[in-house]
Symmetry: C2
Subunit: 352 residues, 2 copies
C-alpha cells in the first residue's frame, strides 16, 4: 500500500522532530508492504513572516490529496498580530479533523501506572474563534462564543466509545493492562454551563448508550474535579472524552504525569485522513541544540498509522519506543538524560 | 470590634464543616478584642427542594448587612432542573465579590514545597451564564458567551499584585519561604482567544506595570502549559492570576498537589466584605459519617479575617492548623488518617 504523507514541520523544534518521524516511517520493515511518499509543506510563524499567511492554501490543498500528515509545532506571536491566526486550529477545521486523540501512557517500569487516552473534540467550543470587542463607559469588553453542537458531541463520544472497545480488544489479546473493562469518562462543566456543556453531556450519554457500547462503563466528571482526580488517581482512567478546550487542558495535565510533554503524541482524525502532531510546542528555547525529544512525534506517526488502519506497523513503532524508554539509557534532557535527538532516533531505528 | 458573620452551610458536608469554622472563630483568644455575631442562612439544593428557590432573597439581603460570611458547599442536580441555578455563582455576582483568592500551601515537612495563591476573577468569563440553544437541520446547537472586561481584568490583576506584595512583606518579616521575590503569573489562552483572553492579558499587564508593583516580577503562561508546569514545578509559582474558568480548574489542580481538596480554602472578596468558602464540594458520599475534613473551612475563616484586616487573628488560626498537620497524628481519611472531624476540630481549638 502506498501512503502519501504531508510533512509540516512548522517552527522551532518542529523542524527537528518531523524529520525524525519521517525516518522512522521509512525504516519500517519491508515485510509490512508499506511505501511512503513524503511532501514537504509550509505553515507557521516563519511562513507568515515570509509570505504574509500562516497557512498557505497550497498546504491545505495538498493535504486534501494526502492519506495522512505529520504536523510539528508553530510559534505564536506574544501579542495579537493582524492577519496571523494559528494554522493548526485552522487546519483542524479546514480538513474536518473532528477528533483529537491523545494517548498518555507510562512505561511498564513506572511507579504509577498510567494508561489513558484523551479524546478531544477538535472543531468547535471556544475554538470557533468568533470574538468581538466593544467600548463601554467603563472600558473595553470582549466576548467570545463557545459553541457546542449535538452532532459534534455525538461524533466525538462515538469515537471515544470505539476507542474504548478497541483498547479492550487489544488488552483481551494478552497485552498487560491496569484496566479491567472499557471505561469512558465524560468531562464537562454542566453545573455552570447547563445548555452548552449540558448538550455535550446529554449527547455523549446518548451516543454511548448505543447497543454496541453495552460493555462500556460510562461515568462523568466535572472538569475541575477531573483535573484533581487526574492527579490523585490517574490509574483509574481509560478513555476521557471532552469538549475542545477542556481536552486541551487535560492533555497537558496528563502529559505532566508521564514526565514530559516530549513523550505525548496526538492524532487529528477525520474521515479517512489522520494527521499526527506531538503535544509539545515549538520550544524556541532549546531549538538548534539537537536535544529535542523526538518521541512525541515518532509516536504521533504511529498513531496516524493506527487511524489509517495500519495497526501492525503502528505496533512495531510503539514497541521500539517503549523498549528505548524502558532501557532508559538514551534519554533526552527533558527526561533527565543527556542524549541528543539523533542518538534517540538511532536507538529507535535499531529496535524497529 | 464586633463582626457579624453570615453562615451558609448549604448541603452535604457543608453542614459539618461550617459549624467547625464557627467554633474556631468563637475560640479565638479574648485578647484579640473580636466579638462575633453569627446569623444562620439558607441556600442550596435542599433549600430549593423545600422552597423552590436555591438562593432566598433573605440570604442575600442579610449578607449585605454582614461584615463577612462562611459558605459551605451545595449539591447540584445531575440534570438541569428548571428554576435551579448554582447559589454560589449567583452570590458572587449579587454581592460583587469580584475576587476569589485560593492559597495552596504544603506543610513545612512536605517533600515538594508549595506556596502559591490562585487569584481567580469571580464575576464574568463563561460564568455570566448567558446561553441559548437552537435547532438546526443537523440537530441542536448551544452557545454560551465568554465575557471579559477591561475593568474586571484590571481589578483582579491589581489585587493579585497587592497580594504578591503582602506575601513578600510577610516573608521579609522572617517567615520561611521558597520564593525569592514577588511574582505574578498571568494565565490565559490568548494564542487562540486573541480578543477576550487578549484583553485579560493586556489589562493585567498594564495594571501590573504600575509604579507600586515595580518590585513584582510579571510573567505569563498559556493555560494548558500552566497546568503542565503546575505539576512539574509547582515550587516556581507565587501568585497566579486567571480569568474565572481557568482559575476554577487551576485551583483544583493545585489542591491535588497538596494532597487533598479538604485542605484548600478560598475567600470571595468584595469591597469591605469577604466570604470564606472551602474549595471542596458537598461530598454526599461521606456525609453523616463525621469524617469530613474541617481544615479547608477553618482556613477559609482565617482567610476571611485577613480580608477584613484582622491579620493577627488569621495568623493564629493558620498556625494552629499548621501545627495539627505537621504533627500529623490527627488526620481525617482524605489525608490517610482515621480521625473524626470532631477530633481534628478539638485538636485545633486546643492549639489556638
Ligand atoms: C497551539 C494551540 C493553538 C493548540 C491548541 O490549543 O489546540 C495546542 O495547545 C494544542 O494542544 O494542540
Ligand atoms: C460549584 C461550582 C459552581 C463552583 C465553581 O465552578 O465556581 C466550584 O467548582 C468552585 O470552584 O467554587
Amino acid at each position: 500500500r502506498a501512503l502519501t504523507i504531508g510533512l509540516i514541520p512548522g517552527d522551532g523544534i518542529g523542524k527537528e522532530v518531523i524529520p525524525a518521524g519521517r525516518r522512522v516511517l521509512e525504516a519500517l520493515p519491508a515485510s509490512l508492504g508499506l511505501k511512503f511518499d513524503f511532501i514537504d509543506l509550509k505553515a507557521g510563524w516563519e511562513t507568515f513572516e515570509q509570505t504574509g499567511v500562516a497557512l498557505p492554501e497550497e498546504t491545505v490543498k495538498t493535504l486534501e490529496s494526502c492519506n495522512g500528515g505529520l504536523f510539528g509545532a508553530v510559534s505564536s506571536p506574544t501579542t495579537a498580530v493582524k492577519g496571523y491566526s494559528s494554522p493548526i486550529v485552522a487546519l483542524r477545521k479546514r480538513l474536518s479533523l473532528y477528533a483529537n486523540v491523545r494517548p498518555v501512557k507510562s512505561v511498564a517500569t513506572a511507579a504509577k501506572p498510567i494508561d489513558m487516552v484523551i479524546v478531544r473534540e477538535n472543531t468547535e467550543d471556544l475554538y470557533v474563534k468568533e470574538e468581538k470587542t466593544y467600548d463601554t463607559p467603563e472600558g473595553k469588553v470582549a466576548e467570545a462564543i463557545k459553541r457546542i453542537s449535538q452532532r459534534a458531541s455525538t461524533n466525538i463520544a462515538t469515537i471515544a466509545g470505539e476507542i474504548a472497545l478497541r483498547r479492550q480488544k487489544i488488552r483481551a489479546a494478552g497485552s498487560p493492562s491496569i484496566h479491567k473493562g472499557p471505561l469512558v469518562t465524560v468531562t464537562h462543566k454542566s453545573n455552570v454551563l447547563s445548555q452548552t456543556d449540558g448538550l455535550f453531556r446529554v449527547s455523549a450519554r446518548e451516543a454511548l448508550s448505543a447497543e454496541k457500547f453495552s460493555s462500556v462503563k460510562v461515568e462523568e466528571q466535572i472538569v475541575d474535579s477531573m483535573v484533581y482526580k487526574l492527579f490523585r488517581q490517574p490509574e483509574a482512567y481509560d478513555v476521557i472524552v471532552a469538549p475542545n478546550l477542556y481536552g486541551d487542558i487535560l492533555s497537558d495535565g496528563a502529559a505532566a504525569l508521564v514526565g514530559s510533554l516530549g513523550l505525548v503524541p496526538s492524532a487529528n482524525v477525520g474521515n479517512s485522513f489522520a494527521m499526527g502532531e506531538p503535544c509539545h510546542g515549538s520550544a524556541p528555547d532549546i531549538q538548534g541544540q539537537g536535544i529535542s525529544n523526538p518521541i512525541a512525534t515518532i509516536r504521533s506517526a504511529a498513531l496516524m498509522l493506527e487511524f489509517l488502519d495500519e495497526e501492525e506497523a503502528a505496533a512495531k513503532i510503539y514497541a521500539a519506543v517503549d523498549a528505548n524508554l524502558e532501557e532508559g539509557r538514551l534519554l533526552t534532557p527533558d527526561l533527565g538524560g543527556n542524549a541528543k535527538t539523533e542518538e534517540v532516533v538511532a536507538d529507535i531505528l535499531r529496535r524497529l
